[in-house]
């Protein structure tokens, strides 16, 4: 069992996201430590991309702040090396195909393994294109995370059968960003996922409040939150880590009372 899958055995998993280098890498390091100390089960680290087509305005702006601040792939690898001196929570990179492809997929993924990255999420690489990256990930024991969307329909079983680490279930149509209401019949999608795999499933896109997190955790094995955390960085900048720690603690508490079914 991979480190990521193990992380789901500790009750419902809370998975926060942060864009590395927003507004600088020191703040990212402090924020990741705050997340880890306050109950994050897996942490998603975004490597910024100039044109993040799956992101809403909040994370788009974080990508621009990070790139203007000088963050790049090598500096982010160094950040992870530093974090791994004390942070043991599974870490997952979230970025776009070109960032990995341009670095050289084999070189990128071998460094992931070396520095202690447990998984890779590429939102612009669907099932049909995944072997270009997933085959290398398997050789280096990095989980290639698959996404399932509200429109996946007849594709859910096929994707679930080959899933590794966890399944990222996209809650709604559209791009990332806070939503007041999630209307997709996620229970029905999770049911099909369960029929095809034991790999845990976490719901992301649009979740911000403890109530929403609780509601989603009742359906799935974990909850992913991005934009709500990035908003704290937008608002508090270098002071954000303390607020992020508090936010993660509240969210983990909200879902911590739900009995895990793994």
């Amino acid at each position: 069992m991979s480190n990521i899958t193990k992380a789901f055995q500790n009750g419902k998993a809370f998975i926060p996201f942060i864009t590395c280098g927003d507004p600088d890498l020191e703040t990212t390091a402090a924020a990741v430590r705050a997340m880890a100390q306050n109950g994050a089960d897996v942490i998603e680290l975004g490597i910024p991309f100039s044109d993040p087509t799956a992101e809403g305005p909040v994370i788009q702006a974080a990508n621009i702040r990070a790139l203007s601040g000088g963050a790049d792939t090598d500096k982010i690898f160094d950040l992870v090396r530093d974090l791994r001196t004390d942070v043991t929570v599974p870490l997952v990179f979230m970025t776009y195909a070109n960032v990995v492809f341009s670095y050289g997929a084999e070189r990128f993924i071998s460094i992931c393994r070396e520095i202690g990255i447990d998984g890779l999420i590429l939102p612009d690489v669907p099932f049909e294109e995944k072997e270009e990256f997933a085959e290398i990930c398997r050789r280096y024991e990095v989980d290639f995370i698959s996404l399932i969307a509200p429109t996946s329909a007849n594709r859910i079983g096929m994707i679930a059968k080959e899933a590794e680490g966890f399944i990222y279930l996209v809650s709604s149509l559209g791009v990332t960003g806070v939503r007041s209401e999630i209307t997709t019949d996620l229970g029905a999608i999770v049911k099909v996922i369960r029929e095809n795999t034991d790999v845990p499933c976490a719901i992301g896109f649009g979740i911000s409040s403890p109530e929403q997190a609780k509601q989603m955790a009742e359906i799935a094995d974990g909850v992913i939150v991005g934009s709500a955390i990035v908003r704290l960085l937008e608002q508090y900048g270098r002071e954000a880590p303390a607020y992020i720690g508090e936010y993660v603690r509240n969210m983990k508490q909200a879902i911590g009372t739900i009995h895990s079914n793994i």
């Binding site: 991309f49 100039s50 044109d51 087509t53 799956a54 809403g56 305005p57 788009q60 790139l67 790049d72 792939t73 776009y96 195909a97 070109n98 960032v99 990995v100 492809f101 341009s102 670095y103 939102p123 612009d124 690489v125 669907p126 099932f127 049909e128 294109e129 698959s146 996404l147 399932i148 969307a149 509200p150 429109t151 996946s152 329909a153 007849n154 594709r155 994707i159 996209v170 149509l173 559209g174 791009v175």
Partner: protein
Amino acid sequence: MTNPNGRFGIHGGQYIPETLMNAVIELEEAYNHYKNDPAFNRELTELLNEYANRPSRLYFAERMTNDLGGAKIYLKREDLNHTGAHKINNVLGQALLAKKMGKTRLIAETGAGQHGVATATAAALLHMECVVFMGEEDTVRQALNVYRMRLLGAEVVAVKSGTRTLKDAVSEAMREWTNRISDTHYCLGSVMGPHPFPTIVRDFQAVISKEIKAQMLEKEGRLPDAVIACVGGGSNAIGSFYHFIGDKDVRLIGCEAAGRGIDTFETAATISTGRLGIFHGMKSYFCQDEHGQIAPVYSISAGLDYPGVGPEHAHLYDTGRAEYVAVTDDEAVNAFEYLSKTEGIIPAIESAHAVAHAIKLAPTLDKNQIIVITISGRGDKDCAAIARYRGEDIYE
């Protein structure tokens, strides 16, 4: 040329969010059904002929030929199409297909505004809702086209993200499509994006080379020695090349926008300055930095101001079947003025890039050789911007 996974050699593919996968699969299935449907093809041909004014003329540019003193020059007059550019060929095809698929709403990206105007036109004709995404900077450069789209009933969204040009308009249209799929077709304007778009758009634009071939055989009894077209994403170029790909003696020459020069950062010449990457749904060549961040490109021409190139062009370049050259702003503006004065034809600044290369090439060829230049659009939209480039204070 396309294999089942939508590849042209190593290029192409479907690098898009899972949310869109069933939409592109549905589109591919519908396209494969209707492309062989006689009723669909009759309806499309009638629209192209009766509404869009096809076939477009293949005009012998005698004054330009005499002036340059080399190869015989013909102009493929896509500028004479309804809405003033080749874009209508693809849009009528896609809009009709979308209608057959039960879609009621078209969304599109636009750079110079020609594809946006064509999409707004088709939407008006077929009674569909239409939203066009256009970089904020381009809404200023091409203000007249923004008005035309609104006049035709479309909503124009000024995109304020990134460099506020064509690449950002594509990103925003993709984001909107993931948000609303069931009633909406993304009417992509060039031979780019995820499979099946590069194939669909090429097939609808291939009418250009089909006509050139027939017209050339009728006028000259032989094929041309070279076909020249401008390349941004590359739709008018692939349309001009397609039926000649098997005719190895016909040189196929794509003209990219060099902006202020390929040795500067202010360029959009993807094949000259880019490298292999993955973006906007496809693997192809892209202008990018060492970390894979997409470069902020520049050209005087909003329609060529894009950091990538269609995957079939990337493959034609790899195999050596087509040549790609870079043309600067200065050369394009000179050609814009040259064709206006010499032949009384004001080309789009995009098409002027192809004219500029022909001006260089023609004198090096024999008088019995033949060049075809595709004039992909008309230049009325560019007059104010070119006047400003020449230091005249004209605003629309």
